[in-house]
Assembly symmetry: C2
């Protein structure tokens, strides 16, 4: 049910080409290409799930926040794939944006999505401008420097890496944004929602590390074994496959028990379990109970 | 007087490194390098001048808007200098960001500045959240796609270029943002301020085209003759040197007469004249009367 709501929210705000104003066609096409068809839309799903659990009294604002967060995520994928970072030829089973449209267009796709994302929230602010500015503050914080995914990506080229800061910014930031913005979009204090986002982020990091080792390119839609190639820190090299799987289960258990009390607490716990069981292919993990 | 106010406003929001949170040092340093020392800070100067002309009743919000606009401008310079765009080795008389810190850091500098800029305005919103969301809408519009500098840059790689859309987005957008955000930050309707921004933008475009032909790298701090090298549209190739100078004077006259009525109208006209006379070295142009 949230799936359709999310796609509609994103469709409403991405893809303004062809309107009264003459637009550069390649960039227009490349922006669409980078956002549609999407991946699992997991961050906006978490955001809206938390918003619903908190009452979702201004759905149009929650939708805007969800779409904006997914735009930032798509932007980060496009920039991370660039030759100067991962130099990824494919993404979601199709050519990466720079591979298909060229490097300069890929840089502009990311820049455009970042800049437009904030406008999407601002434009949906009429019912509660104060709430909108809180959402924008959170999205800015978890996108930029020093607490956001930009800082996270920057750790990968540092000689002295703070591993905890690296993980929290690189993978955690947009999950923390998801839970905190979900709460804020429904008028709840975002602070108590930090831990749930951080734990989900950790779980995704560990699952991603496992996928990188366990699965082929066909299954994940991106080249396998990249962490080893790029000498990035990885939970599997630290704990072994079984240790990493156990760690993942522990994190998910902690995530569920960290959910702040709110009207839709029980349903939200179910959603987190459901998403948890999608993290790895069935043959690789017993379901989280 | 505005100079000090602008530098203080930018200093307050750029350069958060070294605080409680561990930060990636190279990105921190590169962000500072890209913003300090600045160029003429012309866009925030215009923004604050318009804000003052409109009463400037929430100076902290106008300061935040001015700093945010300059951050976007600096981000655009860093990304435009990248090898996949202008491949510029120098900027403001020193090595360009990617030349000094590497390409991946340069991409992240731009991304961080864009993302942080919106947070700067959101954080300064407490006295009037509605006004802040209007400022964020404007900044987003004139940064992203299809009306912002991202679209402007994208025109440079299109086969069929809409020249008017190209100029309005590439050079005009942030000047229009400057005048409209100046008005909005003081609670005035931004709409009537569009023309002043658009005309100032046009004037800068023509002046830049003239500088590219008339001046050496020593005078401008960037390589000369780049438009010819990169086959970009240029007012001098279209109208000749004298024709372009005449066009510049006409645009500036129009800019001054387009100033909407406001408490500080006369003083603002003086400021525009002052800035106009700095567009080209004295030997190349008679002062605007």
């Amino acid at each position: 049910m949230l799936d359709k709501r999310i796609e509609a929210a994103i469709r409403r705000v991405v893809g303004v080409g062809g309107e009264k104003f003459s637009v550069p066609q390649t960039l227009d096409e490349a922006i669409q290409y980078s956002v549609f068809p999407g991946g699992a839309r997991i961050r906006p799903t978490i955001l809206l799930s938390v918003a619903v659990a908190c009452g979702d009294d201004i759905p149009s604002l929650a939708d805007a926040a969800a779409a904006a967060l997914e735009m930032i995520h798509c932007a980060s994928l496009v920039h991370d794939d660039l030759p100067c970072f991962d130099n990824a030829e494919t993404r979601r089973g199709k050519p990466s944006v720079h591979n298909k449209f060229g490097e300069s267009t890929a840089v502009l796709v990311g820049d455009s999505l970042i800049a437009n994302a904030f406008g999407v929230i601002a434009k949906a602010s009429e019912k509660d401008p104060l709430r909108a500015t809180k959402l924008i503050s959170l999205l800015s914080k978890y996108t930029g420097f020093p607490n956001g995914i930009c800082a996270g990506q920057a750790w990968e080229t540092e000689t002295n890496v703070d591993l905890s800061a690296y993980h929290q910014t690189k993978t955690g930031a947009l999950f923390i944004a998801a839970t905190q913005m979900g709460a804020a979009s429904a008028g709840h204090d975002p602070e108590p929602w930090f831990e749930l986002g951080a734990r989900i982020g950790e779980a995704f990091q560990v699952a991603d590390d496992l996928l990188d080792v366990l699965c082929s390119e066909d299954e994940t839609g991106k080249p396998a074994g990249q962490d080893l190639v790029n000498q990035r820190p990885n939970a599997v090299s630290a704990y072994g496959v079984d240790g990493a799987k156990q760690k993942l289960r522990n994190i998910l258990g902690g995530a569920i028990s960290s959910i702040p009390s709110c009207p839709g607490e029980a349903k939200l716990a179910e959603m987190v379990k459901l998403q948890s069981n999608r993290l790895l292919p069935k043959e690789h993990m017993k379901p989280v109970a």
